[in-house]
Symmetry: C2
Subunit: 340 residues, 2 copies
DNA sequence: ATGAAAGCGCTAACAG
DNA sequence: CTGTTAGCGCTTTCAT
């Protein structure tokens, strides 16, 4: 186990001072071309890499970016944020940062500052979906940049990577209509009011654009499996069930599809389904689920880029990801021809 | 943005020297009880946390643990290692380490040393499934601990967290037999010879234990979707197709099930399926897939624990995870009663 | 264009 | 039991 080289060793070998070596490593000018090349030569030959702990201390930078999340949106249990995380991870490499994942614990109904920032071990944080105002303030005070991915709340002091869910819902619903459906039910979570509003608005506008009216008990919300089932039961209760169901996220569509199949519905022959997100699982369903694809990986990339721009002193605007990329699979077909 | 406190500030406030503060922070003894309490008091009051960059430099430790993976087993695209990573991450908290994810690029058909170790920015690495001998050697030379998760190759110099795939395959196959099946096909990947051997052995032993013989064209391997399909075609080609298919991993079972359904087979009425792993997706299939559950989260936890033990100078043995936890779902039922 | 020297905040001998 | 001091390996004034 040979001792690691230091900048001083390199300096000796190249017969210059440590300062010069530091300069060339950091690409600063003010170094004679020949000297620079000589140093570069030695560095290449020795495979020298500057000790990162030391740079961290000197530069008061951690070269870490955190991804902070609450249990519900852990990239390790939520397939949406799983892809987002991948995006920020991939992009982080380009900037020479480590990504460190930190779950946020809730104590007394408010989130703790991620321990990674308490330790001063992060230069920026990307929050997934939610964050406490207090946490954001603490970050601002420490002057560490933050961005939010897939945030649904009121405008905030930090830039966000957003999805236009109204648009997505509109596109999904319009697709159903274009396939000939006029009896379309709406199923969404409503735990996050803003999300619900966006999605419902998109749905409503699509229907209105085609002068379609639906019975009110076809508009349902559900935040867990039990609620989904009872919503579904109410939707199919009438004598004339809908021919299609719009679901605000794929997860819900998957749950709903499974349940209605147990109730004897054939998908899509009896009833069509469409969702939003296009999570990895959707393509494996039976039938594979049509969905409005959200490029989650790209959201992660954008988040990382926002962080970097903030670090460079910019004050970037929110970015909104393409929200109308319809993925056609087999869960949607024309409505059954009715004879009554 | 108030300046961060240093150990020196705390020392002044508590009217002791920085050394004493350092001692109490690091839980060393040789500090008077009252002094210790006084210092603790100040620390609590101020919310002081020692600058980690500084400790890193002084102690020559990074307080980072890496998870290294090739593209095929990226936790962000492979649902098996996705759960493993979660386990490592959860456990790392207990030890105060960051987890940093590093993909390994292949250049000239061999993997590069993860950049995180080149930079000296990791105290240990968890490799997912594969690793080059050369990389392991480089690590050994730098004296940084490594463990392997779900490794299938010949014995190595580093401890591994293993699955007993022979046992898992045995349990899965026996379940099929217990349900009355005697016409059972075998489908496995064979990209990793050791894995194939284990799984096949388990399958074979279960059959032999019940004196079951099967036609040889029911023993198939496939490493991508096209191969899966052609394997399946060959399996169902004869006049009397099997009543059940054992698949070496859930992914394969999912693919196979989907394909055979398009061929008009009803699952499980016409043909039963069982897999190994119990990945997150399996429960959402139609029908939900029976599987031998591998506790992937626990594998991650064990990996982290192995790393820690190596750091403490131990020379731990491999650990093998429970491999016979049968999860009964709806993809297996009794074989159709035959009348011919 | 180059070098000397200070200092980042901590830990760990070593003295007392 | 407590304090002094010397680094850890780098970056960055400030001279030259």
């Amino acid at each position: 186990m040979s001792k690691r080289l230091t900048i001083r060793d390199i300096a000796n070998m190249a017969e210059v001072s440590p300062t010069v070596v530091s300069f060339v490593i950091n690409g600063k000018d003010g170094v004679n071309r020949h000297t620079r090349e000589r140093v570069l030569e030695v560095i290449k030959k020795t495979g020298f890499t500057p000790n990162i702990s030391s740079r961290r201390l000197t530069m008061k930078k951690s070269f870490n970016i955190g991804i902070a999340f609450t249990p519900e949106v852990s990239p390790f249990s939520n397939l949406f944020f799983f892809e987002v995380a991948q995006g920020v991870l991939d992009k982080s490499k380009d900037y020479g940062y480590n990504i460190v994942f930190t779950g946020m614990e809730k104590v007394n109904n408010k989130y703790h500052l991620p321990d990674i920032v308490e330790k001063g071990d992060t230069d920026g944080i990307v929050f997934l979906m939610t964050v406490d105002k207090a946490v954001l303030d603490a970050l601002a005070e420490r002057n560490i940049p933050a961005v939010l991915v897939d945030y649904h709340g009121p405008t905030l002091s930090v830039p966000c990577v957003k999805v236009n869910y109204e648009r997505a819902a509109y596109v999904a619903t319009r697709h159903l209509i274009e396939q000939g459906h006029r009896d379309i039910a709406f199923l969404s979570q409503n735990g996050v009011p803003n999300f619900y509003n966006q999605v419902f608005t998109g749905f409503r506008k699509a229907l209105e654009a085609s002068d379609i009216m639906i019975p009110l008990h076809w508009i349902c919300s559900a935040n867990d499996e039990a609620q989904t089932i009872s919503a579904l039961n109410s939707i199919i209760a009438g004598k004339k069930p809908p021919t299609a169901i719009f679901c605000s996220i794929d997860n819900l569509a998957i749950e709903a599809m499974a349940y209605l199949k147990t109730k004897g519905f054939r998908v899509p022959e009896d009833i069509s389904f469409i969702g939003i997100d296009d999570i990895i699982m959707s393509q494996y369903m039976d039938p594979p689920l049509s969905s409005v694809r959200i490029d989650k990986w790209e959201m992660g990339v954008q988040a990382m880029e926002l962080i970097m721009r903030i670090m460079e002193g910019e004050k970037p605007d929110d970015v909104t990801i393409c929200s109308d990329n319809l993925i056609l699979r087999r869960s949607v077909t024309a409505p059954p021809t009715q004879n009554r």
